[in-house]
Symmetry: C2
Subunit: 483 residues, 2 copies
């Protein structure tokens, strides 16, 4: 109830601030809130960062470089290593105080050739993609009959042995939402569906892509095998191809599919977290962590996922590095390694800091595309809420509402949050994110440079004020067991 009342009071406060940003004139200066640990001069600095970013930030140029000079950068590949070298060089060129790498190792997976087709009287090719981590078809095509399931629960309910020699096909359609909330209910079958199907006797798993577009792209993404179950290949077909399979089955046709997938595990690979620090003037051993992940899937160019996050947060940290004076605490920009196949960079970093997580005051990751930020949410100690509200007041003219419930940390700050690090979420509009996510269509042209500038404005103000406030962010609240 206290939280609800706070939220209502805050809502009022933010509405007033937002009004001040009307077209009638420049935004009024944000007023200092009691308990925020921030002084009016700090707010003026943050407003300056915000307003200069809106005039044009470095973010788009950074994404342009990364996607043009490197392009796709699957963790462990030569391209990924080129991305690491690029990031290190870029941080140095941008004037960060310290720049270093942290080595990370992980299972290295390669896609290789992949193709599939419906065979028989109604033969036609399928657009599909092997799921990340999947085995291949063993050097020769695999051909079997399709059995369709409406969703993962229906597959789970199938009798053991009922899929002997068959290909399980799960046709669930992911729903579109600004906050990407359609992803959770959809993605389970991508991660765990292959082992589930194998337990029923299936020889392969095929799923409708986890995505929201009807463009004919298949969406890849990571999957995992149970330790106890034999490994079968897993792939996703594009939405139109899923429709095609379903239409043939609805006509009472037997649908046989041939899969030829050369994917393979290649032992352990290595890469590096790349870290750039803007060193604090008073408490250099306290950190505000922002960043994105440097690796990408192999078929797009990783512009939205997560070149945008790299560009936004690197540009925000750079803007702070250009100020005449460093903030009180340090800011750590981290380009996380090997996120896509299981947060390996983030887990390595968390393991390496251990109890020293407490030096990490608060962390935020940008890893949800390039849509504008519409909400600030946080998981901090109650004593730090006034600081979050204060930051929210500076972000309000950007069209950002502060919400005191909901949300969660970005994936790569998750391992630190598990240790106890407070988090903030600068929630991006992801309405169309899953149109492009993990497809060959994730390319630079899908990014609006002005939307990146809005996000740099928010990240710069957030990171600066979090580094400047006298408030300690404490410890991340334990999440409720249910949402």
């Amino acid at each position: 109830m206290l939280r609800l009342l706070s939220a209502l009071a805050l809502g009022f406060c933010l509405a007033s601030t937002a009004m001040a940003a009307s077209p009638m004139g420049p935004p009024r200066q944000t007023e200092a809130l009691p308990g925020s640990g921030l002084e009016p001069k700090d707010l003026r600095v943050a407003e300056g960062l915000r307003d200069r970013a809106l005039e044009g930030s470095a973010a788009f140029g950074i994404v342009e470089e990364l996607t043009t000079l490197v392009g796709p950068r699957l963790a462990g590949t030569p391209a990924d290593h080129r991305a690491v070298a690029w990031a290190e060089q870029k941080l140095k060129a941008l004037g960060f105080d310290k720049v270093w790498r942290q080595e990370v190792s992980f299972p290295y997976w390669r896609r290789g050739h992949e193709s599939g087709e419906i065979v028989g009287a109604h033969a036609q090719p399928l657009v599909l993609t092997t799921l990340g981590g999947s085995v291949g078809t063993g050097g020769k095509p695999l051909e079997a009959e399709i059995v369709e399931f409406a969703n993962f629960d229906a597959l789970k309910a199938a009798a053991p042995g009922s899929l002997n020699g068959k290909i399980a096909f799960v046709g669930y359609r992911m729903g579109r939402a600004r906050d990407g909330s359609g992803y959770g209910p959809a993605v389970g079958v991508r991660g765990a569906g292959a082992s589930e199907a194998a337990r029923k006797g299936a020889v392969a798993l095929l799923i409708r892509s986890i995505g929201t577009s009807t463009q004919r792209f298949a969406h890849t993404g990571v999957m995992r095998y149970d330790a106890e179950t034999g490994k079968i290949p897993a792939a996703a077909v594009s939405s139109p191809d899923a429709d095609q399979i379903s239409r043939l089955l609805a006509r009472g046709e037997t649908v046989r599919v041939r899969l030829d997938l050369a994917a393979a595990e290649m032992g352990m690979g290595r890469s590096w977290n790349v870290i750039g620090e803007v060193t604090g003037r008073e408490s250099p051993e306290e950190f505000v962590v922002i960043g994105g992940h440097l690796d990408s899937w192999d078929q797009g160019t990783g512009a939205l996922d997560d070149g945008a996050g790299i560009g936004i947060t690197m540009a925000a940290a750079e803007a702070i590095a250009k100020l005449p004076e460093r903030p009180r605490r340090s800011i750590r920009f981290i380009a996380w390694a090997s996120e896509e196949n299981g947060l390996f960079g983030a887990r390595q970093y968390a393991a390496s800091v251990g109890a020293a997580w407490e030096q990490h005051q608060v962390g935020a990751e940008s890893d949800f595309g390039a849509g504008r930020i519409y909400a600030l949410r946080a998981g901090v100690s109650p004593e730090a809420l006034p600081a979050i509200r204060q930051i929210g007041g500076v972000l309000a003219p950007l069209g950002i509402v502060t919400e005191e419930t909901g949300g969660g940390p970005g994936p790569d700050v998750g391992p630190l949050v598990m240790l106890g690090m407070p988090w903030a979420q600068l929630a991006q509009d992801g309405t169309d994110y899953f149109d492009y996510h993990h497809t060959p269509n994730d390319t630079l042209d899908k990014i609006d440079p002005k939307a990146l500038d809005q996000q740099v404005a928010a990240y710069a103000a957030f990171a600066y004020l979090s580094a400047e406030t006298a408030v300690d962010f404490g410890r991340a609240p334990v999440r409720e067991a249910t949402r």
Copy 2:
């Protein structure tokens, strides 16, 4: 000037008719115009065809069958032959009076494997597609440096020998327009660019796809070689890949591309025009020709190009076949063979009728996707204009304006029009047609069934009235040398 005045007068007349179709009530009955050769009872029949089609036509079901049971159907392939068998069977099942095939032969081309990539320090894969009719790279990859040209004229202006050993890349962007008028200025380099580049010494041609989408699909389409010039491979990259090449070049980088294209000419192939006739009650040897083309490119499922045209015109002819009485003249529905690689079905048909083209009163093809029809245009003798205006009056409640200038016949009626056959154009809204045209993304889900119904309504009324009128459509006017 006479034409302009007529058009103005007609505009007024159509505006009145359109008003009658307001939500205030059912459309008023169309009034018979002097000289149209049509009586009020004929107009009532056409209005009935129109209004029943709007309630739900057979068109979408036909496209659904063709794309689901056959899918892609490159001329001469087994899938194309399955499409021919399907069309023949379908026309018989729908109650056409006569159904037959006409054999067609043509150069049979196969795509085979295709891949390409930027190599070197900024290596990344390219999404590309071989142009139809192109040779391959000779069983091994071809690697060379890119030289960029803004458009075809710039390539033509290059000095002989200036491209020795290089790949010519033409980056021209096609413009979007409802009438598809961006296609003409863009497509020249696709057809003739390879030989032009070869004359300058180039070893391959690469073009930005002829299309209007930024989705990462490459658009194929037919090309031809000069007889005098050595053949070099030709391919199109997707719009994001064209951007990528241009960005690297703009940074002053040397861009080397490796192409591996297995395309090959396979000698002569064969297919069939499939013809279904609704035989006229008084003048069965006079024909109104409607149709679409049955073949498609090999990567999409030929839903928009041209399953839609097949569905619309087959459904329109079927609706007429279901009337209690046949119209005066015959209606010939023709599913044209081998359109994509050079109108081979249409040319074969025209050659086979020769002087008997005069039996063909008027022809129209639907081959511009699935967007609603917004204009009726025609090339007929001046004496037949009142009949066209009369037909336009019946189409007006569908949101269709009759225009007395501009337009042209669909591709497959072109050879008959060259002989003298009058034509009509039921112009479709092609604003987004070139987003999908000749890509893997041309699939059933891109079609709105209600938009098809509107088009069936228009084609059924048009074909019925053209077959019923006492007016002779005469001869197609000779086109002006310039547009």
